[in-house]
Point group: C2
Chain length 256, copies 2
């Protein structure tokens, strides 16, 4: 039970939050118990699941500083089987506040340890950097899911996240594997998308999910309603793609 | 002489690099002397200006660690009047390497001081975070240009960068002002774009540039050729928009 997967890529705006939230919701709709942990101080995953700022009085910030156990910060969402551990902007201070703690990269792993068995899947949304917060998520994870926008800069950045995964695997987390690469914002009218998708499949082979997430405006509208795209518009191309991705994900693992 | 402007926003993928490079190139084409400083370890601005990895033997990393003066790291680009101070991935280690230095946030300002007078405009491309590298850029800057993608999450993140600008102004850089907000990836077929643009103008008024950068595939193709969009396809909507933005920018300041 309790597979923990970090959704990470230092390149900004590639669909980390969108993938973490919509995959979490689709796996929950398939009947599994899912927890989404928001490790990004921007708190976009928390907002995407409908939790306003007033509801974040206890957050991951309190958990990482050891003030409360993680279980006390977990809240339900409108989606059955899906819970969220919210983030707040103060989280950005953690990097400085924990600078003197030699074990700072293991805080998240230790905090989530007592919680994991209660869920089939724990997904962790990371900020666009390879600093202390993302390294905490990689140190805690069984696998890392890398959303990759079908654009030139995103392709250039792939080696950076792969190198960091290697470093964490050789250091604090020998079991860390690459769960897969998810191609996002694919636009079939645009040659660049095809080119990038072909390059990534050539380079990463079977580690690239078959399911490709198309660019779809409904995906970018859903967060302002505090809903995953599958709730916002179940028939749209984005919702269908994330439902496919959930089935492919569950199939690859034989189900978490 | 020598206005220094940081291009910053912690939200990822909003068009910081695209705006820094294309605005720098358009201002250079208008006959001003321009320097682009790449403070992002991803090095996307350096790549966008055609500098391969082999040409980055001396970079901002060496400058911030005090090994070479900034002038020694500056290189010409294919665009007359436009020079670049390249970045490398090692730059991401600076946060940890300078953690004990109480003056770490002033390293960039001190390094660029002897250089600024040689240029009409110095633009600094920042990574998607509010850590040591971005704070260095804000501490060195006269103004900050905030690219804002016309999407919901980008709007949510605006208060975060504004708060950081305030903090730096009250601390190490009292002269820091908001140069303006540039709306990017505007898609007129999409209500969300209109909604976000209207919200931002309502909230920030005249600090929002009139020029809006449309979503335009040619903009995202240009980096793979190592060219600004104005060189890649001078007639396209993206090139025209950035040329307008340069004229508006120069008009607002009475020219740097
Ligand atoms: N497939 C898609 N189609 C259309 N819009 C999308 C798609 N995926 C994501 N978006 C939009 O693109 C923007 C970037 O996505 P998102 O915020 O999920 O990326 P991120 O990697 O989490 O960003 P950050 O690096 O800031 O954490 C958001 O406004 C989101 O709504
Ligand atoms: N107006 C536009 N139309 C189409 N594509 C664009 C536009 N502006 C930027 N892009 C593309 O969107 C992606 C994100 O832009 P860019 O990399 O400039 O953002 P950024 O804010 O610098 O990202 P990061 O947060 O990773 O530094 C890139 O692939 C870029 O080519
Ligand atoms: Mg995100
Ligand atoms: Mg960038």
């Amino acid at each position: 039970p309790g597979r923990l997967v970090a959704v990470a890529n230092q390149k900004g705006g590639v669909g980390k939050t969108t993938t973490a939230v919509n995959l979490a919701a689709a796996v929950a709709e398939a009947g599994r118990e899912v927890l989404l942990v928001d490790v990004d101080p921007q708190g976009n995953a928390t907002t995407h699941l409908g939790l306003g700022h007033a509801k974040r009085r206890v957050s991951l910030y309190d958990v990482l500083l050891g003030r409360v156990p993680a279980a006390n910060a977990v809240q339900p969402t409108e989606i059955a089987n899906l819970a969220v551990l919210p983030s707040v902007v103060d989280l950005s201070a953690v990097e400085v506040e924990l600078a003197q703690d030699a074990e700072r990269n293991l805080r998240l792993r230790n905090a989530l340890e007592p919680l994991r068995a209660a869920y089939d899947l724990v997904l962790v949304d990371c900020p666009p950097s390879l600093g202390v917060l993302t390294v905490n998520a990689l140190a805690a994870a069984d696998g890392v899911l890398i959303p990759l926008q079908c654009e030139f800069f995103a392709l250039e950045g792939l080696s950076m996240i792969l190198r960091t995964v290697d470093r964490v695997r050789r250091g604090s987390n020998p079991k860390l594997k690459i769960e897969g690469i998810v191609l996002t914002m694919y636009d079939r009218r645009n040659n660049l998308s095809d080119q990038v998708a072909a390059d990534v499949r050539g380079f990463m082979g079977a580690r690239v999910f078959e399911t490709v997430i198309p660019r779809n405006v409904r995906i970018s509208e859903a967060p302002s309603y505090g809903q995953p795209v599958g709730r916002y518009d179940v028939q749209c191309a984005g919702a269908i793609a994330y439902a496919h991705l959930a089935r492919e994900y569950l199939g690859r693992l034989g189900g978490p």
